[in-house]
């Protein structure tokens, strides 16, 4: 199945694959010709002080957000490497932003990352892509086959470990639900 078909069905998908940031070096942000620059920057969590900064002074975190700002008008927004470019607060912010872009602006979003934790609470479909081909797909964060292609999140690792001989805990990717489940079971 083509990725576009998955996007039509799910709106936001997670892809386990390599991603290379597409933003080429620039002199200042004005060179990028971002439409409605100030509101685009605000949407991605940057303020106007970034406009005057030279490329060499911009951090990885800021570059990632600038790259997103350049893509906001696209019908399909492809982002990658959140786990290596952003801190946890920014990741949570971006998840809310992606939901907004999907629900209010009807954008399709592709999130590419090796870290499955990024997909929690935002993605219902995960694809593993190699050499531009979808080699595996799943909707289950506890699908063991998925972890032949990427690292298992610690919460999945913990629950699998506890359930190794007998099912004690429910499959859960939300830590507060896990706590309630542990409380019930000890």
């Amino acid at each position: 199945m083509e990725i576009k078909t998955y996007l039509n069905e799910y709106g936001i998908i997670g892809v386990v694959s390599n991603y290379k940031n597409s933003l080429q070096p620039f002199n200042t942000i004005q060179d990028l010709n971002i439409k409605n620059l100030e509101s685009a920057l605000k949407m991605v969590g940057l303020d106007n002080t970034i406009i005057a900064k030279k490329y060499s002074d911009i951090t990885i975190n800021e570059l990632w957000k600038i790259e997103l700002a350049t893509k906001l008008n696209n019908e399909i927004i492809i982002v990658g490497n959140l786990s290596t470019s952003l801190n946890n607060k920014d990741i949570n912010y971006m998840k809310k932003l992606f939901r907004k872009l999907s629900q209010e602006y009807h954008k399709k979003i592709v999130i590419i990352d090796d870290d499955i934790n990024i997909f929690f609470e935002i993605v219902k479909k995960i694809l593993v892509v190699k050499n531009h081909k979808v080699i595996y797909e799943t909707e289950d964060f506890f699908d063991k086959q998925l972890y032949r292609h990427c690292k298992m999140p610690k919460i999945v690792e913990f629950i699998n470990y506890i359930n190794r001989d007998k099912k004690i805990l429910q499959n859960n990717v939300e830590i507060y639900e896990l706590i309630k489940d542990i409380y019930r079971s000890v």
Partner: protein, 149 residues
Amino acid sequence: MKETNVTIISNNINRNLLTYYKDYFVIDKNFTLDDLVQHSKVIFFNILYTLTDIEIKELYNFLNDYDIKFINFTNNIDEALLTNYLIIYSEDKVIMEGNTIDILKREKDIRNLGLKLPFYIELSNLLKDYGLIDKTYIDKESLAGALWK
């Protein structure tokens, strides 16, 4: 900072931080163990996330055997548990540094920087709040043993 292995976490990781560690050899792309042998001090710059837990353990043993000191610059706070010493930067300034577990006890300060706790530390803290355990555990085996005695 003592001459020991260190994890450096920043809420805004950037290469400017490397200027403070000029006597270290920087690794920021795929590498082999042979690449490391000729250096006594290395920096892993946002790269260890590509390794499995087994590969990290292997790497750690290798570095230990060859007495190679390392600094791990990373976004991934779970990697902090690889070393006994942790430095947290915010906007190129050191905000916290010291014994890893002592630093990670400062949950509120860490969250205010936009970071999160390593999973087992966060889980331990929540379980302590519920009165289910009385100390912090950093791995699944010891935590499971404490919960289901």
